[in-house]
């Protein structure tokens, strides 16, 4: 195992324990002050703030996430292909061309369908 991998693994473990600990410390030891005047929302002199911060959320975000997932899986298949491309030669290249062309028709379909247009 390389030194860099080992160090990054330990840094990850350390962060996973350190960040919650710091958050807990802030809650336990941090200064706190409350009161009616402080908890009141104040927005540039407007006394009554209209609406909540969490508004309605368009379904398009979710559709974009699904499309991202699909093209992400395509990218995952490219990873072992790119590593062993030299051994595979021209035939392996053509395999990936077929794979990408099939998914490219999907991309053209969603562009023609206007899914990526934000309206």
């Amino acid at each position: 195992m390389s030194v860099e991998l080992l160090l990054s693994a330990f840094i990850f473990i350390f962060l996973c324990f350190a960040i919650p600990t710091v958050m807990l410390m802030m809650v336990v030891f941090g200064p706190r002050s409350g009161g009616k005047a402080k908890n009141e929302p104040y927005e540039s002199g407007i006394k009554h703030v209209v609406g909540m911060a969490d508004q309605k959320f368009s379904v398009k975000f979710y559709l974009l996430a699904i499309l991202f997932l699909i093209f992400d899986i395509e990218a995952v298949f490219m990873y072992p292909w790119a590593v062993s491309l030299r051994e595979l030669g021209v035939f392996g290249f053509l395999e990936m061309v077929v794979f990408i062309l099939l998914l490219l028709t999907g991309l053209i379909y969603i562009i023609k369908k206007g899914v990526l247009n934000w309206r």
Partner: protein, 169 residues
């Protein structure tokens, strides 16, 4: 030695993340601790020298599927007031542990009966990115190309189900 240490570290982290997933009250906190479980599992795969699975776990699960889960949480738009009271949750958790306990003991016994020779570490090249690529693009060529058709069907299905309706303004 360091491998054992790392194994225990990541194992502990994955268990803690899974515990956080079921113990945190707000779904967003649960999702964030689930990310820790996913990344720790990826690191455990890396310790088993399954490098491709490590990369896929990070790219697909911790990246794409996690963003899907986060979008669902944003959709449902759960405020502090929407969360249920959950009065007897510790009682129910204890009941669940009592129910699962026998299964865990059974699993451990089954694990103990495995002969030690069966769990030998496979060769150095197994699970590497290049080895998987060579097998995938020579022996498993047709399934690989069928995967692209499957992805295409999923794409068209997602667009038809979620993106068809025109918004009338």
């Amino acid at each position: 030695m360091t491998e054992t240490l790392l194994f225990y570290g990541f194992g502990l982290l994955s268990i803690l993340g899974a515990l956080g997933l079921i113990l945190f009250k707000h779904p967003m906190n649960g999702a964030m601790s689930f990310v820790i479980t996913l990344i720790s599992l990826a690191c455990l795969y890396a310790l088993l020298s399954a490098k491709l699975i490590f990369a896929i776990q990070l790219i697909v699960y911790a990246g794409a599927i996690m963003s899907l889960i986060l979008f669902i949480i944003m959709f449902l738009n759960i405020g502090e007031s929407d969360l249920p009271e959950e009065r007897g949750r510790w009682f129910y958790l204890a009941g669940g542990i009592v129910a699962i306990g026998p299964i865990a003991i059974l699993m451990q016994r089954a694990f103990k009966t495995l002969p030690p020779g069966e769990t030998a570490i496979v060769g150095d090249g197994f699970g590497g990115v290049q080895e998987v690529g060579m097998v995938l693009f020579t022996d498993w060529l047709l399934p690989f190309e069928i995967v692209s058709i499957l992805l295409l069907v999923a794409l068209v299905g997602a667009v038809v189900l979620a993106g068809k309706r025109e918004v009338s303004e």
